[in-house]
């Protein structure tokens, strides 16, 4: 079965480019050129150099022995938390800034929720000397003050999104509105595998370095390049897509995507899109969307600001409906406990997003020789405030 995008920009029935005419020229330009750019040996040379010398790749694949012992399987952690800026987000921004340069764009815009993608975008803009404007929900600006300061230190302008619920969804709307109003000189660095085609495919390709490395690292460590299970958390789904990408064709590798259940999937305060969403169109692609019966997009909730998105990338929607990957959900409480557990067992404080993936280990039944890879998508420094409040530290 094919799990990749077709020539019309669809994954099964999901995807496409549902955009107003104002965005069409930019999307068309990107669609016609992104593969040519990415496949150009000069692009690859610079991309690989930056990933190595600037981001610090390859990120280690670490056998977490105490965690393994607790859950009765060989559990490896793919250490995206050790990347420059502390999460997987920079794999994509490094790639897209090179695309923007080749398109001759002078002005970069981005949306951000928790601030990780905003920071990763501000970082590459500083590196390349390009103007950077980051849209961030006014509510998130309050919640994530250190990341706002980091963006500002690197020269970015942070503009509060004051429409709607003032979180990630609204920041994305504002970024798209900015792009409509700046039709020629601007590139939009979208941070997840969402948005109109070709974004989901382009971002997945830039994040696919995660599974590409995992394969040869597993081969080196275990003599076999495929594990039994791969786990990753999903909001929009970029770290999960990067972690799944090179395993999609290996049908015996079980892929598990962990969504945020928030206070419980039936609580009305949740972000478990595959359970609670219906087919719809959001931010330019047809996918699964949390919405009312009348088609108004609803506000999701999760304790982690990186997972409270009311949609999911169209490729994920396709993996979900075709059952290639299993989509499960973890509550705030389960995630917080898993974050604390990894800190105590392995000396690694994970981002709360990542902790959702870790929490699912406790719900699985392993055979002793099972090999498991968990994408450790980000580090928990940004979440210390939340950890402190939750555990009364």
């Amino acid at each position: 079965m094919n799990y990749q995008v077709d020539e019309k920009g669809y994954y099964g029935v999901f995807g496409g480019a549902y955009i107003p005419e104002m965005l069409y020229p930019n999307i068309k330009e990107l669609r016609e050129k992104y593969l040519e750019f990415i496949e150009d040996p000069k692009f690859q040379e610079e991309y690989v150099m930056l990933l190595k010398d600037y981001v610090g790749r390859p990120s280690p694949l670490f056998l977490a022995e105490r965690l393994s012992k607790k859950y009765g399987a060989k559990i490896y952690l793919k250490r995206e938390d050790l990347n420059h800026t502390g999460a997987h987000k920079i794999n994509n921004t490094v790639g897209q800034i090179l695309v923007a340069e080749r398109l001759g764009k002078k002005r970069i815009i981005a949306e951000t929720g928790a601030g990780q993608h905003g920071v990763a975008t501000a970082t590459v803009c500083a590196l390349k000397g390009l103007e950077c404007i980051v849209y961030m929900g006014a509510v998130d600006i309050e919640r994530q003050a250190p990341n706002v300061a980091r963006m500002k230190m690197m020269g970015a302008t942070v503009i509060p999104a004051t429409s709607g619920s003032q979180t990630l969804k609204d920041a994305t709307n504002e970024a798209l509105r900015d792009w409509i109003n700046h039709p020629t000189d601007t590139h939009y660095i979208l941070g997840s595998v969402v948005g109109p085609h070709p974004y989901p495919d382009m971002v997945a390709r830039f994040q696919s370095i995660i599974s590409e490395e995992t394969k040869w690292q597993l081969q080196e460590k275990t003599g076999k390049s495929t594990p039994d299970y791969v786990l990753a958390c999903v909001g929009g789904g970029s770290n999960a897509m990067g972690m799944f990408y090179h395993f999609l064709a290996d049908e015996d590798v079980k892929l598990i995507a962990v969504e945020a259940a928030g206070k419980g999937v039936d609580s009305g305060e949740s972000a478990a899109t595959t359970l609670l969403g219906k087919e719809g169109v959001l931010h330019g692609s047809r996918s699964l969307v949390m919405q009312t019966e009348d088609g108004q997009v609803v506000e999701p909730y999760s304790i982690s600001a990186g997972l409270d998105y009311p949609g999911i990338g169209p490729q994920h929607a396709h993996l979900f409906t075709s059952r290639r990957a299993l989509y499960v959900s973890i509550t705030d409480d389960e995630a917080m406990l898993a974050g604390m557990e990894l800190s105590k067992l392995e000396g690694i404080i994970p981002a709360i997003e990542t902790a959702h993936a870790l929490a699912y280990l406790g719900k699985m039944k392993f055979k002793e020789d099972d090999t498991v890879v968990v994408c450790l998508s980000g580090r928990g420094d940004k979440d210390l405030d939340t950890y402190m409040k939750y555990f009364g530290l």
């Binding site: 709607g164 709307n173 039709p183 009348d294």
Partner: protein, 256 residues
Amino acid sequence: MNRINQLFEQKKESLLSIYFTAGYPDLNSTVDIAEALEKAGADFLEIGIPYSDPLADGPVIQHSSLTAINNGMTIKVLFEQLKELRSRVTIPVLLMGYFNPLLQYGVEHFCSSCKEVGVDGMIIPDLPMYEYEDLYQEYFSMNEISNVFLITPQTSDERIQKIDELSNGFIYLLSSSSTTGKDLNVSDQTENYFSRIKNMQLKNPTMIGFGISDHTSFAKASEYANGAIVGTAFVKILEKDHYMEQIPKFIKELKG
């Protein structure tokens, strides 16, 4: 031939179309405002279906949309209200809305509901041409609903030709690539763009919108197209107390 086609047959210059959001400022104000606009001299109307994430709209229409949703406006409620449309309003009426609410209502069902209440056309900014042609055009044709596409200064001639082929009401020319509610800034570049489109001799009439807020911008736009569309400037009138009383004056001043 629906009411839109008939209108453009009869009148070819300085047509005025007014946009407002259904269910704003009050849930039940929709048809009252439509009737008042016809009496005041509007040539046709675009009634906006409110959406939670209107990404082509500026702050004024974002606000009217959110208020309308909070007032309880939905597509079902709107079609209920529009049952009395044709006993009170004779000019052409289009609905303008984002695709997701239509998708949930069902596009086929939506088109037949339009026909039932006497709606003549649709503007769906985020429904791409390809998807329209491939999946939905037949429902529009079957119910004689015109689908109106947008053109911006960045739209290529080739694409404009394709849009002209697919259109059967009029083509909506954006004065610039922008969200709604920006001021019209007529530069040489804009005039070149308007002239370029005029010289293409499209089979469909054209209406200029985005940034048309007063008589000067309306008159300017009318030089290059069959008329112009006013949205944000009118929605601002609806924000005022006693807005119904201000509608005749607003339309009179616009037309000059």
